[in-house]
Amino acid sequence: MERVAQFRQQTERYLSGEISEAEFLPLRLQNGLYIQRLAPMLRIAIPYGMLSSTQLHKLADISRDYDKGYAHFTTRQNLQLNWPKLAEVPDILEELASVEMHAIQTSGNCIRNTTTDQFAGVAADELEDPRPYCELIRQWSTFHPEFAYLPRKFKIAVCASETDRAASQVHDIGLHLKHNDRGETGFTVFVGGGLGRTPVIGTRICEFMPRAEILNYLDAILRVYNQLGRRDNKYKARIKILVRALGADAFRDKVQQEFELVRGGEMTVPDSEFQRMAGFFTTPDYESCDAAAVSTAVRRQASDDRAFARWLERNVSTHKTPGYAAVTLSLKPTGIAPGDATEQQMHAAAELADSYSFGELRVSHEQNLILADVRQADLYPLWKQAQAAGMATPNIGTLNDMICCPGGDFCSLANAKSIPIAEAIQRQFDDLDYLYDIGEVDLNISGCMNACGHHHVGHIGILGVDKKGQEFYQVQLGGDSGHEASLGKVLGPSFSQDEVPGVINSLIEVYLARRQGDELFIDTYRRIGIEPFKTRVYSND
């Protein structure tokens, strides 16, 4: 609330002319407020993607009362309002504060929301729940006095399983939770990953940093960056450019030097504190059940109802507790901007969470909503209700579950529209059997090289470019945000908007003709390379 009072006072001074445009800029940015092409945009923080149903109800009300009745979930697990009024922003912040939410440090050159795996705490393949560590980092980074005016924005992601569902290697800092041979917890630290104009996979600078020292180590990294990161050119100001310029070894040495000064200092975290943090993420009160019987019942429901079977296959994930499952509510129906949800959908999702998932939801970096703790016995009624709310499109992980930025329809930075491209592709692949046969493909679309749609790490990436005032689209192949992170390669000359769906179709046809066994698109690409795809697409001319 002190922050709301501060920003109200700042907004009043700006509107009365006492604070200049340039001086108000970092103040509004640090409170999540951008001025966009058509209106201000307010980005609301959802720390590591966790939401209570109460919070989601409030967000729904806010988007009805202060916006146009819908909002956009982002690739960094946050929520954006695209049409708030500047004078009302302090009121929105006050409403948010009433459910312990805010928009602090969701934009500006500071440490942003720390993100993680949307299945944290329930994934069968995780070493430990990463959320207590995210919370610790969230607290450390909130109002950090030394790092509020960094050379550029700074993003941290944490993952705790082999399958990196947090795209951590394309973050400024990626932390991979590890256990050493004495069973102690620590992190492998990657620095300088990122997308944007200069896409880079992060460099490993530390194999194992004990968890007690992690905040001290983060302080050291940020201090080196704050002093040495470039400030003369905003396109060269991210930490990835500094790591590259100094070289990984020299960068590591500088961090080590700073680290030695703070090692064991006041921000060293004792085990008791980790235990206290973990106490905020207790496992819900799971019911024990006859898992085999439940699973038989679900299979029977699936064999009776093909549509339910499809949804089970695509939108339901395994859970570490027998008899439970994690459900992904798709925010990617055809024709809607990926990640958009209406006020009614947000209320409906919150009600589903109350009925079926202990009143809790998560936002994924793929821009969907997750109910993480659903009894398998409840899957069928849940599916029916999700369907009624338009959130049961069975396309999770498929080509049509694309990541997409708001693009030229909303964003003043974009070179080209991205949402109509997403829609045209979804229409091209509207046959679900065909879509399932294609299997898992990450298709990512960005409207400009700032890469908010993560096009570099899509198995298929699409980038909007401007050619003499016309919107064109460059296609890239072979990116991956997972454990074997890689950046896509450009296929060749770019295409017009109308050509894109056909091009994607040709790429898919090459894959289907060449795949061996149950190879995924990315595996076939890695095996046969870019040439067969190139030949096919450009010989069509």
Binding site: E23, W140, H144, N226, R231, E266
Partner: protein, 170 residues
């Protein structure tokens, strides 16, 4: 408005600033008393400065404290310049002075110093502030209390939430 000529804030109270800033590129060490000299000029005239007790030094945002680390006690105080408020290097320089070099004297913020920056500057170890001329310096005194709690340890008296909690549980 304050009646003070050339007001500044030092250790939480308004006072008059009696110090003159010597600009970068000044050819000679001026004879006048109470001058804040640029770091490079100070390095050139180390011996003369050692014999005087009315000289302070200022670091620009691309001049880290390592530059003058050996001579810190010779200066009446260390000033750190903010050429624009959004250049945040000075925050780390103040932390470095306090933490690495254990500097206990005055650390003064000069240049594009605005109301909005005071809370964080103070937390990083700045103890004196020459605000930009157009800033309302009386209101500035209130800005140090924008927030009552902090998650981080800093160069000021505000204790981190973590260390408070650990103290309570001991």
């Amino acid at each position: 408005m304050t009646e003070l000529d050339n007001p500044m804030i030092k250790d939480g109270v308004l006072c008059e600033n009696h110090w003159q800033l010597v600009p970068k590129g000044h050819p000679e060490l001026p004879g006048a008393a109470n001058i804040i000299v640029p770091a490079l000029l100070a390095l050139e005239h180390q011996e003369r400065i050692a014999q005087r007790n009315d000289i302070a030094v200022w670091l620009d945002s691309d001049e880290p404290p390592e530059l003058i680390a050996d001579q810190l006690p010779q200066y009446c105080f260390i000033a750190i310049n903010f050429p624009v408020f959004s250049d945040g290097r000075g925050y780390s320089y103040a932390r470095t002075l306090r933490q690495r070099f254990q500097y206990c004297g005055e650390v003064r913020a000069i240049g594009d110093v605005l109301l909005e920056q005071l809370f964080y500057l103070h937390r990083c170890g700045f103890s004196a502030f020459e605000l930009r001329e157009d800033q309302n310096i009386e209101e500035a005194l209130l800005r140090f209390n924008d927030f009552s709690e902090a998650y981080q340890s800093g160069g000021d008296q505000l204790q981190s939430v973590l260390s408070k909690r650990l103290q309570q549980s001991n």
